[in-house]
């Protein structure tokens, strides 16, 4: 009942671990697998070893999370042990990558494709560093160029991950599809935002600003997935604030084929994957759906 497909990749259920949440080592990814995820996304991998920002990097406020981890990474060349360990994972593994230039995206994609992940996600949407990230996802022509150049070196399906922070979301999505993207992931974090501690009169995050995630951004995620669905024909991995089965169904109705689970692990623990699946299944039965495909895009009819 919960089976779905994303760019030809079969998922036993639509819950996909979002990049950057619990995705730092093979050991914790396996634990997420044991907790019922349909697929896993690795923490975004970058060109060189990078420490990321000082703490505080991740905090929670009344209605969501704010993070500026700053793309910490051991660097794609220093992960041989993890790649080896990842081979034991039975469910699809999506490798997320980022670069500071189109050349770097290509260089990493070429290397990572050899490790045979089920898909490569292009993080062209991180708001938390000065040089890498969302700049590539702001302009349709730049996003399209990243996708087409990466496509040229990778046999593995390519899924750009889009930022909700561009006014040209639809155009960016279209450019990615035209450049050969196999699927689209949306959304990365919103903002950036800032929280100031009034006792010390200082922004709390060390980077001062950070991307919003969790329940606060769900309506934005739903709107973005809805807009992307109207614009392209490739499958969509919808994410942003999905915390329970009802949220998952909402994003599927907006047009997603699978749903990302990220900040929900803060609210519900690592059990979030099996909980969301169970709740979705119950809702589907109540509403008379027999498979995920039937739900995808129903809000457009």
């Amino acid at each position: 009942m919960l089976k779905t497909k994303l760019a030809g990749i079969k998922l036993k259920n639509p819950t996909v671990l979002c990049s950057g949440i619990l995705g730092t080592s093979a050991a914790i990814l396996k634990r997420v697998e044991r907790n019922g995820a349909g697929a896993l996304t690795l923490k975004s991998i970058g060109p060189q070893p990078r420490e990321g920002h000082n703490n505080p990097t991740v905090i929670a406020y009344e209605s969501g999370l704010l993070n500026a981890v700053g793309l910490s990474t051991p660097g794609y060349k220093n992960m041989e042990e993890e790649w080896k360990e990842l081979q034991d994972i039975k469910i699809p593994v999506i490798a997320s990558i980022y670069g500071g230039s189109i050349e770097e995206f290509v260089e990493i994609a070429e290397f990572v494709a050899e490790k045979k992940p089920s898909m490569i996600e292009l993080n062209i949407s991180c708001p938390n560093t000065k040089k890498h990230g969302q700049l590539f996802g702001f302009e349709p022509d730049v996003a399209g160029e990243v996708v087409s150049k990466v496509k040229a070196v990778s046999k593995v399906p390519i899924m750009p991950k889009l930022t909700p922070n561009t006014p040209k979301l639809k155009e960016v999505a279209k450019a990615c599809e035209d450049a050969g993207a196999d699927a689209i992931a949306a959304i990365n974090t919103v903002g950036p935002g800032m929280i100031i501690d009034i006792e010390t009169a200082k922004p709390i995050l060390h980077f001062k600003t950070g991307g919003l995630s969790g329940p606060a951004i769900r309506p934005i995620a739903v709107r973005c997935v809805y807009d992307i669905y109207e614009t392209v024909n490739i499958p969509i991995l919808g994410m942003g604030g999905i915390t329970n089965g009802k949220d998952a169904m909402e994003v599927l109705m907006a047009g997603a084929n699978a749903v990302g689970i990220g900040s929900a692990t803060y609210y519900r623990g690592i059990e979030a994957f099996s909980l969301v699946s169970q709740e979705l299944e119950t809702l589907m039965k109540e509403q008379g759906y027999t498979n995920i495909k039937e739900i995808t895009g129903t809000a457009h009819e």
Binding site: T57, V58, A60, E199, T200, I204, G269
Partner: protein
Amino acid sequence: MNEQDYPQGTKIIEIKQETPTVKTVVFQREFNFKPGQFVMVWVPGLDEVPMSLSSKNSITIKDVGETTHALHAMKPSDKIGLRGPYGNGFSLKEKNILAVGGGFGTAPLKPLFKNTNIKWIIGARNKEELLFTEEIDTLICTDDGSKGEKAFVTVLADRELATGKYDLVISCGPEIMLKNLFKVCEQHNINAEFSLERYMKCGFGICGHCAMDPTGWMVCKDGPVANSKILRELKEFGEYTRDKKGEVTSL
């Protein structure tokens, strides 16, 4: 999840020099906590680091690097940010407990000083670095023999456990010490609860940075206190850790 998972500024009310390298910082905010739980301590503009609570309103800090140095340089009425408490704390289900503190590792054990079921062993490099030994009746050892017995805590623990009086060993200290102490516990077939450290970011179990191999046991949320069953599973315990980048480095 706590009611509020972002740091909130609080005023420092007192700073005590405990040893040449360790200070206790007492602050205004009070935490309802279980011994062994920790808080994330924010030095505005610099960094945020995990510190065990040494009482409901204090942390006891060893000066080892930039952030701990900045904390040592603070004065009463300066402000730091705190969030927590995080982690599991010691379960203390057993009755007859041996507590072993190595170096500043005695800090998270201090809230248990009132517990009368506990026998204490406190060790340090030398007499100056012995932490809290004035405040409690304890066996003492130093690496250089400048006070107490000239031995490692593991030697004293081995001798105590041989009496058969104990059913739990709790400890915190350098991981190599914990690794050796765990061997002693296993030889005597006595359950252990040790407080571990790994590089942390969120502190509440979502970034995955402090997850240990091969089970993905997260020090911040599942720990920091690991029992014998968990310690046996953790192949990286006493062997390696991951740095801020996520790269594996030996201990």
